[in-house]
């Protein structure tokens, strides 16, 4: 029974990683860049939700919606100001800029909200269900997190495969020049991708802090790095890959914490990544892209 309960917390943590990883992987797929500031957008989302509930007394649902709106706008603004001017620049310049944006967001949060950690109260509330004569407890946060993850996955899959805009997004990720010849605006598509990814980051931030209620300016960085790992693990650029990578990473992390060592759990997570990449360099669901001649 403890095994089952570990598995469930693993899936729950993994669902958060998966939602963050989707943002990484979509942005990579379209803009071919690693947005290392993505983790910090999570933190901003959590702070917005925290402030609107604690200081303004808004209901949790409204606070989550506000967090999504703020992060969506933030994502678009970051892309316009920091990354768009570098569209023709070498990849390394963009990468360093992304790290710069990450520090900027962390320090802005430090300035606004201070360095002491805030105690985030769960937006889901404090309820749980007990199964098997009270031997197994599943918290409300866990249930909502996993459900949110499934809903997001299904919605994104339908969006990218069934809608004109989603198909255009895939077209841009394959060939920007040819997509432009079809009349697709590459800039708008990149903005849209940042908007979706950042909106998802807000949801991830709120869910993460509902499960682990310590909120600090650096709250987003470690989950951000792990979600990036998850995206690479699943095959960067692939939406189902990000999902599977995220959930597997969460499960591995919780099992490592439970059965190996709490201190070593992160090392185990990254060791698994290294092994997977040695065996399958493109990740679990990654496509091998042949170099264009």
């Amino acid at each position: 029974m403890t095994f089952l309960s570990y598995l469930i917390s693993g899936i729950s943590l993994g669902s958060v990683y998966a939602i963050i990883a989707l943002g990484y992987t979509m942005v990579y797929g379209i803009a071919k860049m690693l947005n290392f500031a993505h983790g910090d957008v999570i933190m901003v989302g959590a702070y917005i939700s925290f402030c609107t509930t604690s200081y303004l007394g808004l209901s949790p649902l409204v606070s989550v919606l506000l967090a999504i709106v703020v992060c969506t706008v933030l994502g678009i603004v970051i892309e316009r100001l920091a990354y768009k001017p570098l569209r023709q620049a070498p990849a390394l310049a963009v990468l360093i800029t992304a790290i710069g944006v990450s520090y900027f967001l962390q320090n802005a949060a430090l300035l606004i909200w201070g360095s002491s950690s805030k105690t985030f109260s769960s937006v889901v509330g404090d309820w749980s269900i007990k199964l098997f004569n009270d031997q197994l407890t599943i918290t409300g946060v866990t249930i909502v997190t996993v459900l949110a993850c499934v809903v997001i996955m299904v919605a994104l899959t339908l969006f990218t495969t069934k809608t004109k805009l989603g198909t255009a997004m895939r077209a841009v990720s394959e060939d920007k020049g040819a997509a432009q010849l079809m009349g697709i605006s590459v800039n708008s598509t990149i903005s849209l991708t940042f908007a979706i990814g950042s909106g998802l980051a807000a949801i991830a931030g709120v869910l993460l802090c509902s499960a682990y209620p310590m909120l600090m300016p650096t709250t987003g960085s470690m989950p951000g790095i792990k979600a990036f790992t998850a995206a690479v693990f699943g095959g960067i650029g692939s939406i189902p890959g990000a999902m599977i990578g995220g959930i597997l990473l969460g499960i591995i992390e919780i099992f490592a914490k439970a059965y190996i060592s709490t201190q070593l759990s992160d090392a185990v997570v990254f060791a698994v990544l290294i092994v997977v990449l040695l065996v399958k360099p493109d990740g679990l669901l990654g496509k091998r892209v042949s170099e264009k001649v």
Partner: protein, 236 residues
Amino acid sequence: MAMLTVENLNVYYGMIHALKDVSFEVNQGEIVALIGANGAGKTTTLHTVSGMLPAKSGSVKFEGKEIIKTPGHQIVSLGMSHVPEGRRVFAGLSVYENLKMGAYTRKDKKEIADTLEMVYTRFPRLKERTRQLAGTLSGGEQQMLAMGRALMAHPKIILMDEPSMGLSPLFVSEIFKIIEEINKQGVTVLLVEQNAKKALSIANRAYVLETGKIVKEGNARDLLNDESIKKAYLGE
């Protein structure tokens, strides 16, 4: 009046002066060929006309309207489609999705469905493979898809860049036959080809590009019989 008028076009790649005062025009209903050796600037010309490359100076007028500063993604809705070199179909999208993307800027569902039917009639192979990923098609089929995709925009003019490149001789003849048919249905064609003989045999007029300059122009039939052209481009 000319449908497409290009005047004194100058394009640079960094320090390299790729197009030098290139001027030409395409009249409604014509097939006009741009021929020349590798690196003469044929593809650069097409890219500049369709807004994929910025020009240093010069003018591109389409139906009398200056489009040199128009962003690339707004060109297609004016009625100009571009079938790029190397086909560049969206490999991970199905044949159907590729064709849908061709009609991206069009709104009327009924008209799009009619055009799709027309494209399927012209290219029955695409209809057979409608659910297949474009990347799994043969080179000739991909060329048909790229042309079908361009037709989905319901263009007045199509720019075609090396449609015969890398295709088997059988497919080459078929592709040229299709270009003639498309033209007969009222679509003007600006054709860039290395296969100068084939291009001149279907074109009305042609321009010869050499290291970024137009060095010769004329009636396609006359150029086919021109001694210097024969020597340089027709291998005779």
